[in-house]
């Protein structure tokens, strides 16, 4: 039976036809978008801080993730928290990818993107929403950020909001530092935070 050419051909693993599958995949994402079935679109983008994952809902950019967060794990979280209709659809994130690239090339100091803040709630969301008001190249303390969000005593909670920022870089939590001058924790690691601060401080 094993040498039967008929069975051998039928049961052979599918050949790798990358061009065909890429074409079919593009056709699927285009149709899915047209029919309102593309709940989460994603792509990756290269940056000086490694490969970043960008994900968007029809409302806007919903997630930026560093490689250290494990992009596969992030996509699985999005499938659970938003919708399992998750597809790689680079076109839908062209604008976000271009703006992030411009930011790292120092051609952009603020982002102009539709954002979907549904992954954070309550006080954390207020903290995150206030972050863009810390100007490019400037820093603020956790206390100042907590105060701006309406709870001057919630300094630790402000720290947690920054540490769990679903949209790092775009919502500039890297500009929030400790009053002592220490730079504090960062979702992409302390080194990434320092590099972003350095990038913004050099003229």
């Amino acid at each position: 039976m094993n040498h039967d050419p008929v069975l051998a051909t039928l049961t052979a693993p599918p050949p790798a036809e990358e061009a065909t599958h890429r074409r079919l995949h593009d056709r699927l994402t285009t149709a899915a978008h047209a029919q309102g079935l593309l709940d989460v679109a994603y792509r990756t983008v290269d940056s000086p801080l490694g490969t970043l994952l960008l994900a968007a809902t029809p409302q806007g950019l919903v997630r930026v993730a560093y490689a250290a967060e494990d992009h596969d794990a992030v996509l699985r979280q999005l499938a659970v928290r938003i919708s399992p209709r998750v597809l790689r659809a680079p076109d839908r994130l062209d604008t976000a990818a271009r703006q992030i690239d411009e930011y790292f090339r120092k051609r952009r100091t603020a982002f102009d993107l539709e954002l979907d803040l549904r992954l954070s709630h309550g006080f954390r969301r207020r903290v995150l929403a206030g972050l863009p008001s810390i100007g490019y190249g400037a820093t603020a303390s956790y206390t100042a950020v907590a105060t701006a969000a309406g709870s001057p005593k919630a300094v630790r909670a402000a720290g947690t909001a920054c540490a769990t920022n679903p949209l790092p870089i775009v919502l500039p939590c890297h500009r929030v530092v400790r009053s002592s001058g220490a730079i504090g924790h960062y979702i992409g690691g302390a080194r990434a935070k320092q590099r972003l601060l350095d990038l913004e401080s050099t003229a």
Partner: protein, 160 residues
């Protein structure tokens, strides 16, 4: 248990479903059937039981799409000089150099489907009986008959 991103479903099962569509419909219609299958699957995906056999679920959808295509074809006029504007799907060397897929097309529809679902997609006969209707024994027999025919029309004298 929760559903994984649909992208993983496409990556894992896309190639096999395409082969099933080719075995059942031939290379020309296979890509349309594949696209309709995955679009319908994407629509229904949030309601899928995470413990379900994803491949059997996709083959079931592909099966219905293939039946739809046959019905549409029976109703509409058949194009004689069909020219595709996409890069020819049948230019794929795997198909081109293998007349087994042509031989498959000559089989009765039920045999062709059973062979595709069992040998290409790897589904057990009991599952195939649920998709096609009928009994497990009947599915098993259709597969045996199909293989027998293929051996005489195709397999004979072409060892590799």
């Amino acid at each position: 248990m929760s559903l994984k991103p649909f992208e993983e479903v496409v990556a894992e099962h896309g190639p096999t479903v395409l082969r099933v569509c080719r075995a059942v419909l031939g290379p020309h219609d296979a890509e349309d059937a594949w696209s309709e299958t995955f679009l319908a699957a994407l629509r229904a995906y949030p309601d899928l039981d995470p413990r379900a056999n994803t491949e059997a679920w996709l083959v079931t959808i592909a099966h219905r799409k293939a039946l739809d295509q046959h019905r549409a074809r029976a109703r509409g006029p058949v194009p004689t000089d069909h020219i595709t504007d996409t890069p020819a799907p049948d230019s794929d060397p795997h198909i081109h150099h293998d007349d087994l897929w042509d031989a498959l097309k000559a089989l009765p529809p039920k045999q062709r489907r059973v062979l595709a679902y069992h040998h290409v997609a790897g589904l057990p006969y009991a599952q195939i009986a649920r998709i096609l209707g009928g009994t497990e024994q009947a599915a098993r027999r259709a597969a045996a008959d199909g293989i027998k025919t293929l051996r005489t029309t195709h397999g004979k004298g072409t060892p590799r």
